[in-house]
């Protein structure tokens, strides 16, 4: 075990602990709110197979965004879908032995990472220079910038300043199995890892909440007819 490896491992543990406690706190907070039985929401929207199938499409294809801004949708959908693909590709560095399907996914995952970087640039450029939006969330831009830095450092490592991939995997699997090894001697890897951990700490809550509200919205839309049309 080396000091640099230990420090880096502690940073990783701290980031995951922060995320874990944040999620746990949020779940406890919502459970407490559920216990209060507040009727403020009125009568809950009724579930139906039709509404839930449609809401699945809302979640996967971001159709609500498509309806209001098709050009932004193009960037956002590519960004979200390729983000997921890049995450799947990265499982390779955390799992040993690597399942065959993850190995088969590598080409698609690498392709997705280029689209991901392009989509990020597109989204920022679209909001800033094409739509010239009056309302820009600083939190959103912080996250987009962070992801941009993660993507650029990943891009550089893949194509120009390669890190020792064997060392990277050994270090990462070591961290997750509490056997801390020497970290790879790549500043770019260090930067990529630290920015990824910052993103993890600031992981936007909508990742978990938005699918739920989309399901509820679809049920509500489907049920709107029934508010005054029920016999």
């Amino acid at each position: 075990m080396t000091y640099s490896g230990l420090i880096l491992a502690l940073i990783v543990y701290a980031a995951y602990a922060a995320l874990f406690f944040r999620l746990l706190w949020r779940i406890l907070f919502l459970l407490k709110a559920s216990a209060l039985l507040i009727t403020g929401y009125g009568r809950p929207a009724r579930a139906s197979v039709r509404a839930d199938v449609k809401s699945l499409s809302d979640i996967i294809f971001l159709t609500r965004l498509l309806k209001v801004n098709e050009w932004l949708w193009l960037g956002e959908w590519l960004f979200h879908i390729t983000f997921l693909m890049v995450m799947i590709r990265h499982l390779r560095y955390f799992i040993d032995p690597v399942p065959e399907w993850i190995m088969d996914f590598q080409t698609a995952g690498i392709g997705a990472s280029y689209v991901f970087l392009s989509a990020l640039v597109y989204i920022m450029a679209f909001k800033l220079f094409i739509e010239k939006k009056k309302y820009l969330s600083s939190y959103n831009f912080f996250l987009l910038t962070l992801l941009f830095l993660i993507a650029v450092s990943g891009f550089l490592m893949k194509n120009f300043i390669r890190a020792d991939i064997v060392n990277v995997k050994a270090f990462m699997t070591g961290v997750f199995s509490f056997k801390i090894l020497e970290p790879p001697g790549s500043m770019l890897f260090f930067f990529h890892l630290i920015t990824s951990l910052i993103f993890l700490i600031f992981l936007p809550a909508h990742i978990f909440a938005a699918p739920l509200t989309m399901i509820d919205a679809r049920r509500r839309d489907e049920g709107l007819e029934g508010v005054l049309h029920e016999d």
């Binding site: 406690f21 944040r22 706190w25 949020r26 907070f29 919502l30 709110a33 559920s34 209060l36 507040i38 009727t39 403020g40 929401y41 009125g42 009568r43 809950p44 809302d58 971001l62 609500r64 965004l65 309806k67 209001v68 801004n69 932004l72 939006k133 009056k134 309302y135 820009l136 969330s137 939190y139 959103n140 936007p204 809550a205 909508h206 978990f208 909440a209 938005a210 739920l212 509200t213 989309m214 509820d216 919205a217 679809r218 509500r220 709107l224 007819e225 029934g226 508010v227 005054l228 049309h229 029920e230 016999d231």
Partner: protein, 410 residues
């Protein structure tokens, strides 16, 4: 604004107590994308992004974090007074039209969320603002938020030739805004019901109190249960099976919230007047024989279209008039633009409301409509007010006022 002195204050009372779990999830779900600003009528007339829907959500999240977050629990925290003041202004300047929610990329039910954020402000003594604060006392003493005497509720407009039964399966609720501020509208309602030949009952002017909507929408919920129980029991005593009303706000609270405040399902069903009249036309109980060679443009009230899904019935009624050409606003049906009268904001932010109403008037004029047809008493009062001193003019008529005119042959 009450209770805000100094720069910051230690607040321990949680901000989440008035919100349902799904509303807390909705606060988390907002991505701050800002797409909703394109549909917000307040943004259209003020351009002030500090009072925009995502900003309201961001500020409220901060209040929750400052009082109930892990850091706040461990180390304590303070809330910036200015942030609270900004939030109160933003949440009360909103017309609660719900256009932001209809176009929300993650589907937040804002038409319902804003009133509950207001309720939280009321609980803290920070809301409501301006004359809205007088409403509970007005409703308590006179039965209506306008502080008008009960004897003036029906007398000035109720037609002599229309009779009301003591008991009937069908009842008509005029509503405070219709009865005091949009009398041609409620007069039209009863004339049309009479023409259909339906026997209907009404509560006495003393019994027909506020439906609770203005109190609900401003976050003042204390009296709601009492008002609702009083009204529902009075209609039940008259053997009512169907309650008709033309005010979208009343209809909204009746259908969505009365069962909650009543504690169980209502003993009657709620119908908007256009549903009843459209059925009567379909069943040939009502025939509009007089022709009207006019281009009409119909404005969907927020709480009727987005609120309870009454969209096609008013169009069906208007299209049944021979000679009529029905035009549409660019934003129509469930995506209609607020006329400015909603959310009780018109009582405090008068200039915003007038500017919004004029946007509706302007579009109707640009589309070369002969008449602007409304079906909400608040829209009716505010859009008529906005015509005064405006460079563009159009004839404004309520949908039932128009049908009554044609039936009576005026």
């Amino acid at each position: 604004m009450k209770g805000l002195k100094g720069c910051s204050m230690k607040i321990k009372k949680p901000f989440s107590n008035e919100l349902a779990p799904m509303q807390l999830v909705e606060l988390d779900a907002c991505t701050q994308c800002g797409e909703c600003l394109k549909f917000c009528p307040v943004q259209e007339v003020t351009g002030n992004t500090a009072i925009s829907p995502p900003e309201k959500i961001r500020m409220f999240r901060e209040f929750i974090r400052a009082t109930e977050g892990l850091k706040a629990r461990l180390f304590g925290s303070e809330i910036d007074d200015k942030l609270l003041q900004d939030f109160v202004k933003a949440v009360y300047e909103c017309t609660t039209c719900g256009a932001c929610g209809k176009n929300c990329t993650v589907g937040i039910f804002t038409q319902r969320l804003w009133p509950f954020l207001r309720k939280e402000m009321v609980r803290r003594g920070l809301g409501p603002i301006g004359s809205q604060a007088e409403m509970p006392e007005a409703v308590s003493s006179t039965g209506n938020p306008y502080k008008k005497p009960a004897e003036e509720r029906f007398n000035p407009w109720f037609p002599e030739n229309v009779s009301v039964s003591e008991k009937s399966e069908i009842a008509y609720y005029a509503g405070c805004t219709g009865a005091y501020e949009a009398q041609p509208m409620v007069k039209g309602d009863v004339i049309v019901l009479n023409a259909i030949g339906v026997e209907f009952t009404m509560l006495s002017p003393e019994e027909e109190v506020c439906c609770g909507f203005p109190l609900f929408i401003t976050g003042q919920h204390d009296m709601l249960e009492g008002l609702v129980k009083r009204l529902v029991d009075a209609y039940a005593d008259r053997g009512v099976k169907t309650l008709l009303c033309s005010c979208p706000c009343c209809v909204n609270i009746m259908a969505r919230d009365w069962p909650v405040f009543y504690g169980r399902e209502l003993p009657f069903r709620i119908r908007h007047i256009t549903q009843f009249v459209a059925d009567a036309i379909k069943n040939r109980k009502l025939a509009i024989k007089k022709e009207l060679r006019e281009r009409l443009i119909y404005h969907d009230p927020c709480y009727l279209s987005r609120g309870v899904g009454i969209i096609e019935e008013p169009r069906m009624v208007l299209e049944s008039i021979s000679g009529v050409k029905l035009l549409e606003f660019d934003r129509n049906r469930a995506n209609s633009r607020c006329c400015g009268a909603g959310g009780a904001a018109r009582k405090v932010f008068h200039e915003n409301a007038i500017a919004m109403a004029r946007l509706t008037i302007d579009e109707a004029v640009v589309k070369k409509a002969d008449r602007l047809i409304l079906s909400c008493p608040a829209c009716y009062a505010k859009v008529n007010e906005a015509m005064t001193g405006h460079d563009k003019q159009i004839r404004i008529t309520d949908i039932m006022e128009l049908i009554a005119e044609l039936i009576e042959g005026k």
